[in-house]
Amino acid sequence: MNTFSRVARRLETIPYLEKSDLSLLFVLPGLFVFSAFMLFPVLYIVGISFTNAQPANLFAGEGVVAILTFGEASYVGLENYIGVLTDPRFWNSFGVTWLYVATSVVMKLVFSIGMALVVTSDRVRGRRLMRSFIILPMGLPAIFTITVWRGIFSSANFGLANQLLGAFGITTVSWLTERWPAFFAYNVTEAWLAYPFMVIITVSALQDVSEELHEAAKVDGAGHLARFRHVTLPSIKRPVLFATILTSAASFQQFLIPFVFNTGGPARQNELLILYGYQEAFSFSDYGRGAAISLIAVAFIGTFMWINVKRGKLADGVKEA
């Protein structure tokens, strides 16, 4: 009889717990580590957002007690939140973020559905090979893709975007130092980053569209467009909606693209919400304010996901499990 079994038998004597509940012990280590590294920072960041924390005061104290008292930072109540919500820069960032979600999601959808239709079309030979090539970028690390796209939009000689414009006789654009060109560059990169995922989901949805319905519509004299609208679209709606929700959440949380391209520039005009919080904390040393912004962003993304889970039944898999 080893220690484990003895502990196990002791636990069995606790009322409300059945013997089978011991299996919870298998799950607890993972749950504990995850909570320690995710939930504790959540609590901590909530705490920081009510203080005037800065590197100078936050890291001043010594030992474990200092961690719990946020160093020597002092409690300032809702000041950070009020400061943030009355700052025009926050509202600019907020607006740009939603605009970015809208434009990039539309772009991703149109691009991916179009591409999925092409690589599933009966007329195209070698569809399978094309499909395996087209999802290649999915395996590329995000930081690689984004630094490469920064090179494409670079104003230096090798910048591909400007060379392309030059080939058509259009003057060069300084992509990363002007507001809307930079915003456009973000969108293109985001679309390229996300399309493999969308294409995979759309392709598998398209393959489930019933042939009979298409044949029937053809017999009734429906054209290509009519068949797409009334047969294809309704059948792929659900999976594509699922992908859209996930990808719009990804757009909302986009950090790397603006950060790598020009740190949300020029002049902080294009800072998406998460980057805005990061910059306030790490570049301008205002941790309290950065924490408040991050929490507002998390609240938005949380609400958004919650509504979608409730309405879109995203977590259907759990019920049958």
């Binding site: 717990l17 509940d21 299996s23 590294f37 090539f133 087209i134 499990a321």
Partner: protein
């Protein structure tokens, strides 16, 4: 080892399919040509097919063009700085591998002198290991090679503890969630699935809290602490993934083992785990890549000495003395193995990701 064998068979099947496809299409083309000549097939039909195929091919090429572009940039000859790199050429005029040599740097195992003092005497035996010179980039005119190997070492020392720790946390949990019924099971599973969807961005939003805690504990700039964080973030997705995989293994195997008198732990080690090799391999690859490719947290927490590959790559793009060709070579050396491993994990390891396999 059945996993490796299955990957090999699959690769072989694919290779055969690709190799025989020209013959197949030639047969189709011949049949169509005969049909058109005899008037059975209207001549517009094959033209439409050819047009559509060419159009699709053009689309694929345009979409994948950035990858080709970065490749040509890497093999084009280098200029003095990031600004002096020239215009794009579809086929670089004088390709060179110099940039890749710059990335890899010297591969020299220096000679060591090992001296052993013989006991009870003043004598000592000195062994000198030979200096092994695999590659000396100075021979090829490359001076001052990149820090790639240093970053690689850092990345390895982050990714390996991540994998070990994550596997320890994920495997028992996935087994329990898949096979046992217990209190809070549904709630935990539901929470994990939710977190799977929102994980990434949440991490960055919470970075301020994480950073503050790490600095106060003096853990920032510690690769091991970073690995623990990565393992923690990898838990929900991978547990769920492995649980889904284990759900697919028939319970009857385990029942047979139980009937044969195997104690519970032997059922797990001799039935469940061997049968879920493919799932375990997928989780292994994904947790490894978590540590290998993560950028933001590593960039915030680590000091220059401990930079991992992604952070090193990012640091390179801001250094204007590095020619674009060299940057491209660095980026490709970093990304290509990952892409291959990822695609193999996706395509060949069956059943790991439910949406991974697209059937033709």
């Amino acid at each position: 080892m059945s996993l490796i064998r299955s990957i090999l068979t699959r690769t072989k099947e694919d290779a055969v399919r690709v190799a025989t496809s020209p013959i197949e299409s030639a047969r189709v083309a011949k049949y169509t040509a005969e049909g058109v000549l005899s008037g059975d097939i209207p001549p517009r039909e094959p033209l439409k097919t050819v047009g559509a195929t060419l159009g699709a091919l053009a689309l694929v090429l345009v979409v994948l063009f950035p990858i080709y572009w970065i490749f040509t940039a890497a093999i084009s000859s280098t200029g003095g700085s990031i600004y002096s790199s020239g215009d794009f050429q579809l086929f670089p005029s004088n390709p060179s591998m110099q940039s890749f040599l710059w990335v890899v740097g010297d591969l020299i195992v220096p000679g060591y002198a090992i001296s052993l003092n013989l006991p009870l005497s003043d004598l000592a035996v000195v062994f000198t290991t030979p200096r092994v010179e695999l590659l000396d980039v100075a021979d090829y005119g490359v001076t001052n090679p990149s820090n790639f190997k240093h970053f690689l070492w850092n990345s390895l020392t982050v990714a390996i503890p991540t994998v070990i720790l994550a596997m320890c946390l994920v495997v028992p949990a996935a087994y329990a969630l898949s096979r046992r019924e217990f209190i809070f099971r549904r709630k935990i599973l539901f929470g994990y699935i939710l977190l799977t969807q929102v994980g990434g961005g949440l991490g960055i939003a919470l970075l301020i809290g994480l950073y503050a805690i790490y600095v106060q504990f003096g853990l920032n700039d510690s690769k091991l602490a970073l690995a623990v964080y990565y393992a923690a973030t990898a838990v929900p997705f991978n547990t769920w993934l492995l649980k889904t995989y284990m759900d697919g293994i028939p319970v009857s195997y385990e029942e047979a083992a139980v009937v044969d008198g195997a104690p519970p732990w032997r059922v797990v080690t001799e039935v469940v785990l061997p049968l879920s090799t493919a799932g375990l391999a997928t989780v292994f690859v994904f947790t490894f890549l978590t540590g290998w490719t993560e950028f933001v947290v590593a960039q915030t927490l680590l000091g220059t000495e401990n930079y991992t590959l992604p952070v090193g790559l990012y640091a390179l793009i801001d250094e204007y003395t590095i020619p674009w060709a060299r940057f491209s070579a660095f980026a490709l050396t970093f990304a290509t193995p990952i892409m291959l491993v990822y695609l193999f994990a996706q395509r060949y390891i069956e059943g790991g990701l439910s949406f991974g396999g697209i059937e033709g």
